[in-house]
């Protein structure tokens, strides 16, 4: 039995033990007390109650809507100067990364190569114009969107069997994903609904079980990309507006203009449960209260050239954002090629570490670790490379302290990461192979050859333990990475 399973069994046994103890110690109410309370309750309330229910005001109504005012002052809200000075001192010491590497335990990606264990494959019905496909998934349902050649279509499948649940025509804009950022998607999904821009100005919500339209909201602006977090649907317009809709009703909760220049449009928003961060202008990072649009803090600095991506937070209060910043060394600043953990609601920096990525980035997080990748030529760091020359590594950090826990040997790949809820991390080399890593044992299970699959680089999602991969022609392929490793 693996350590991973052992840990889960231990937790299950702990829960069972606590429940046994609770049951044995449980105190019941005195029967006389129970009878008397029942008599009193029903005696004093024996008149017919008003027929209800009375609905509470809906969030998103006029009373709840507000637009955030924009603080254009070049201030560092609560992002303290003192913290920055400490940070700069740390950077000057240049020790985090290398200390981490010395303390970190190296794990090799060398592992048996296997063939992908195919669960099911779903070719697209539309072979005339095989482009413009997107995929999204919950644990139970896979959704495929075809946006090109309008009207396109949207369809849902059972994740386990690949059986089609429904299909309908849709005029999807399909514009968001061309942004290329993790955030910029043309489709968002939760357990109940599918959200998709159906024109440059309109967002629709569909019932995930039936495909029926639940609501449609027209917005001003053009070019929409969307992301769901809880009941908030974040809609980013390319004309520099961020709008938050109530995912249940489509009502606008708040909207604000952000003066983002074209070269920073793809960097955000980054969403925690309580705050949403936007690069609102070159060198200007702003945080809004996710529920109200209130500006929480504003940070202005010379970021230089950078890209950033983030991983959803699983910390207890859902407030920590992990941001990975890349950039060229010629324009280096305090954020260049760093991974930072930040309290999103206050702007407080929790920890920071640096790495040497040349532009490849990827993040994932679970309860204990933050996983990041970089990719570069081993011998000529900073030199432009061909894809074949790039070597990628996977790093695991303690999410609380930022300490490097382990790192992989460089693999023959440029990598990105997909993490399953079960703790299986797949490190995907574009066009080469996929390493499957058990995050609990910190061991690579195997590598799976994917050379024969004609894949989009960024279109892989997890549906439970199944990895769903979208091929260039719209075909969906489901594999089980762990089962594939077992041969």
């Amino acid at each position: 039995m693996s350590d991973h399973l052992t840990e889960h069994n231990d937790i299950a046994e702990t829960i069972a033990t606590m429940r046994r103890m609770y049951a044995s110690e449980r105190v019941s109410p005195d029967p006389a007390f129970s009878r008397e309370l029942e008599r009193r309750l029903l005696h004093t309330s024996n008149a017919a109650l008003p027929v209800g229910p009375v609905r509470l005001p809906q969030r998103g109504s006029a009373a709840h809507n507000r637009s955030a005012s924009i603080d254009r002052s070049p201030v560092i809200g609560r992002f303290q100067w003192l913290g920055l000075l400490v940070l700069i001192g740390i950077v000057a010491a240049s020790s985090i990364w290398f200390v981490g590497r010395e303390n970190g335990e190296q794990r090799t990606l060398e592992s048996p190569e296997r063939s992908a264990s195919l669960l099911w494959s779903l070719p697209s019905d539309d072979t005339a114009q095989p482009e413009g496909f997107y995929v999204a998934a919950t644990n139970d349902v896979i959704v495929r969107l075809k946006s090109a050649g309008n009207p396109g279509f949207i369809e849902a499948f059972q994740a386990e069997t690949g059986e089609r649940l429904w299909q309908r025509d849709i005029w999807a804009s399909g514009m968001g994903a061309s942004l290329g950022a993790q955030w910029g998607t043309s489709i968002a999904i939760d357990r109940e609904r599918i959200y998709v821009p159906v024109s440059p100005e309109t967002v629709q919500a569909l019932d995930i079980a039936t495909g029926e339209q639940l609501w449609s909201t027209a917005l001003s602006g053009s070019g929409l990309s969307i992301q769901i977090q809880g009941d908030n649907l974040f809609v980013w317009h390319w004309d520099n507006t961020l709008t938050v809709l109530d995912a249940r009703s489509g009502d606008v909760i708040w909207s604000t203009g952000v003066l983002a220049s074209p070269d920073v449009m793809m960097k955000g928003p980054f969403i925690a449960e309580t705050a949403v961060l936007m690069i609102v202008a070159p060198g200007e990072l702003r945080a809004y209260n996710a529920d109200t649009g209130e500006v929480l803090w504003n940070y202005v600095d010379d970021f230089g050239t950078f890209n950033a991506t983030m991983a959803s937070s699983f910390d207890e209060r859902g407030e920590t954002l992990y941001l990975q910043w890349t950039g060229s060394t010629s324009e280096s600043n305090v954020f260049t090629r760093t991974l930072i953990a930040m309290d999103a609601s206050s702007g407080t920096l929790i920890w920071r570490t640096s790495f040497e990525s040349d532009g490849n980035f990827g993040l994932a997080a679970d309860f204990n670790r933050v996983y990041a990748v970089d990719a570069r030529m081993e011998d000529q760091i900073g030199t432009p490379t061909t894809m074949e020359e790039v070597r990628g590594r996977v790093y695991a950090y303690d999410r609380t302290s930022g300490e490097l826990v382990w790192q992989s040997e460089p693999g023959p790949m440029r990598v990105d990461l997909v993490l399953s809820e079960g703790g299986v991390l797949t490190s995907f080399g574009f066009g080469y192979s996929m390493a499957v890593i058990d995050t609990t044992t910190q061991q690579a299970r195997c590598s799976i050859a994917v050379q024969d699959l004609n894949l989009y680089s960024n279109e892989r999602v997890m549906a439970g333990e199944r990895m769903i991969m979208l091929q260039q022609d719209g075909t969906l392929i489901a594999i089980d990475p762990v089962a594939s490793c077992a041969g």
Binding site: S34, L49, G52
Partner: protein, 200 residues
């Protein structure tokens, strides 16, 4: 399994009567709530279903039978008064939300210690760990829970009371993901504590 279908007026009264005649009738919570919104007597099966668990939850948090009886009474009184406005996904989650608020009120109303004033925190919210430590010292569960953080303890208290994950999220006003994380950490901590106990 009963399906959630709108009831006609006569059907509502008939089912309410059935529930009165047979309190153990296995109607689901939401059906019973709809009946009780029309006829208060139909609240009886809901009361009988939950009086024990709510009392146990309050006792767990407050640590005394007298305080638990008082909190249980207030919980059901508030629930019955608010029933016409009930519009939630889960009656159980709603009821435990009320119970939790009642126990928090109890903590806030407790006599303040000099330490509260010294720290300038006269309204610092619930400090259930204090009550837990002052309560029945022979309760092993209570002693273990007192060693958890506030968040962890609240999640485990509800979990042990039989409240399910999404309902716990509702009760505590947190996301299901946050509850999963807290629950995992709480039981990881409890595993360690139990292990340390067994080593002694």
């Amino acid at each position: 399994m009963r399906t959630e279908q709108p009831l006609s007026g006569s059907q509502q009264i008939d089912e309410a009567a059935t529930a009165q005649e047979d309190p153990e009738h296995l109607l689901d919570d939401e059906t019973l709530v709809r009946q009780a919104q029309i006829q208060a007597a139909a609240f009886a099966p809901l009361y009988r279903r939950y009086v024990g668990p709510i009392f146990g939850y309050c006792y767990q948090r407050l640590g005394s039978r007298h305080a638990a009886e008082d909190a249980t009474s207030q919980t059901f009184e508030r629930a019955l008064a608010a029933l016409p406005r009930y519009h939630a996904d889960s009656f159980r989650g709603w009821l435990y939300t009320i119970a939790r608020n009642v126990t928090i009120d109890h903590f806030r109303q407790r006599p303040q210690s000099p330490l509260d004033h010294a720290w300038g925190t006269p309204d610092s919210g619930p400090l259930p760990e204090q009550a837990l430590l002052e309560a029945d010292s022979e309760s092993r569960v209570r002693r273990l829970l007192a060693q958890l953080s506030n968040d962890q303890r609240e999640v485990v208290e509800l979990d042990l009371a039989g409240v399910e994950g999404p309902e716990i999220a509702t009760v505590l006003g947190r996301s299901p993901g946050a509850i999963r994380a807290i629950r995992f950490r709480a039981y990881s901590r409890l595993r360690t504590l139990l292990s340390e106990e067994s080593d002694l």
